[in-house]
């Protein structure tokens, strides 16, 4: 196999840079998720999702995000494989050297994260791109426009859907409703607010997400500090600060995710 020649340190720096980018996405994602906890019938959260789903620049960024994720994974596994080759004959006695917590698990937590991501995608992302079915919503003004032309559909929509707080959206449609509304020429989009609120009521899904967040915690805790080392920014003067900052970042991101899932489960 002829792979392009990238020096070991460059590879590592790339993995780190991509990791840092993905971490910022996580922070962004977790912060946005907090909107789910608003009891506004999805007014804010869905508005946010609508923006994310329709704005052109975001679409480009989305491709970048997936590219970054993929490259992060491929490079990391490539590194892990060449590293394995550097020691063809292993030790009989397992190592007892002191090491940085989590570093040795990084590849494995990474692979676990990738697996969990698939689960996450079946719940949300695949609904968005239409591979799977979930909850849907439509703009109220579009529905109201049907009042005169197709009163039946309008009534159907009012009965099956819910108005969001400000009434901008009619939400919480099922996949059957989606078919009806679309047949009437309405534009519907996924309703992640209700989708989330439905999923996070199911115990095994909640547990699997909590496991997911724990793995992310492990991965981030090593990754955050390691990025500084890899970029050559590690220094004794700031060692403590970086460590603390990493802890804060990791906990904040993971707790924000957790609060939403647990909060919804307990009816918050």
């Amino acid at each position: 196999m002829n792979l392009p020649k990238i020096h070991s340190i460059s590879k590592k720096i790339l993995v780190g840079a991509l990791g840092a980018f993905l971490s910022f996405f996580l922070l962004f994602h977790a912060t946005a998720n907090l909107l789910i906890l608003r009891h506004d019938g999805g007014e804010w959260y869905n508005a946010f999702c609508h923006f994310m789903g329709t704005y052109a620049i975001i679409k480009v960024l989305e491709i970048g995000l997936f590219g970054a994720l993929l490259l992060h994974v491929v490079l990391a596994i490539w590194l892990a494989m060449t590293n394995k080759m550097a020691r063809p004959v292993g030790y009989k006695k397992p190592t007892r050297s002191k090491t940085h917590k989590g570093s040795k698990l990084q590849v494995w937590t990474g692979i676990l994260i990738f697996a969990c991501l698939l689960l996450h995608f079946t719940d949300f992302y695949f609904v968005k791109i239409g591979w799977l079915k979930g909850k849907y919503m439509a703009k109220t003004e579009d529905v109201v426009a049907l009042k005169t032309t197709q009163p039946n559909t309008f009534n159907y929509a009012e009965q099956h859907g819910e108005y969001s707080a400000k009434g901008n959206w009619l939400t919480n449609f099922d996949k059957e409703d989606k078919a009806v509304l679309e047949a009437a020429g309405l534009e519907v989009e996924p309703d992640f607010y209700h989708q989330a609120r439905e999923k996070f009521k199911i115990l095994h899904i909640v547990i699997s997400y909590l496991v997911f967040f724990a793995v992310v915690w492990f991965h981030l805790r090593h990754g955050f500090a390691a990025v500084f080392q890899t970029f050559g920014l590690y220094n004794y003067k700031y060692a403590k600060a970086i460590e603390v900052l990493g802890q804060i970042f990791t906990w904040v991101v993971c707790l924000m995710f957790t609060v939403v899932v647990i909060g919804v489960y307990f009816g918050l």
Binding site: S8, A86, P88, Y91, K92, T95, R96, T230
Partner: protein, 251 residues
Amino acid sequence: MKFTLHIWRQENARAKGHFETYPLEGISPDCSFLEMLDILNEQLINDRIAHPVCFDNDCREGICGMCGLYINGRPHGNDDGITTCQLHMRKFHDGDDIWIEPWRAKPFPVIRDLVVDRSAFDKIIQAGGYISTTTGGVPDANTIPIPKHKADMAMDAASCIGCGACVAACKNASAMLFVGAKVSHLALLPQGQIEAADRVHKMVCKMDELGFGSCTNTYACEAECPKLIKRQNISRLNRHWIGALFGRDRK
């Protein structure tokens, strides 16, 4: 004291090795680890059981970097900041099982028993781990003042003895601490900055070429370095690498 030794025996570079078990009694706790192996070898010679165990050693005071054994899962044994020759049997418990293995890394092939070939380190240095000077024609030593803390940092990095414990400890058999220490030592001094970008580039290329793994920030190297060389030197290496890739200092 009494021990059961499990030692890697391998007749030559091509032979297949295996572990051999040797019981050993009457060892003084003040005896050094290598002296304990001397005693074992003396017994093996006197009893004609087997060829004495080959192991590299020289100065026996922790500075030459020749000795290096992987003892019960740790390079240079279960103590911090020492080489194998400075390990004493009082660090073990009476009746312990002791597993002794050679350094394991693709660039460090076994020559015999516990002796490995570490010439890969010399090759990395030859790739650029020096300041290009020829004898004579240099300025007076005091014409280049160097801040004390910088000189001290350079000294700390320069105290590497090239034993290979960092490679042996690293799960990736990476030589980053060795290379980082040399790059840091020279780059921290004004004399070394002239060639700094070229040096880091050449040394890292050679390191990759020889088959060392890459750093995954595990820091086992730092934990096992007999001279307590810090991982900050790896970070500095990374920084200089970025500088070498994007800076204008390199040829």
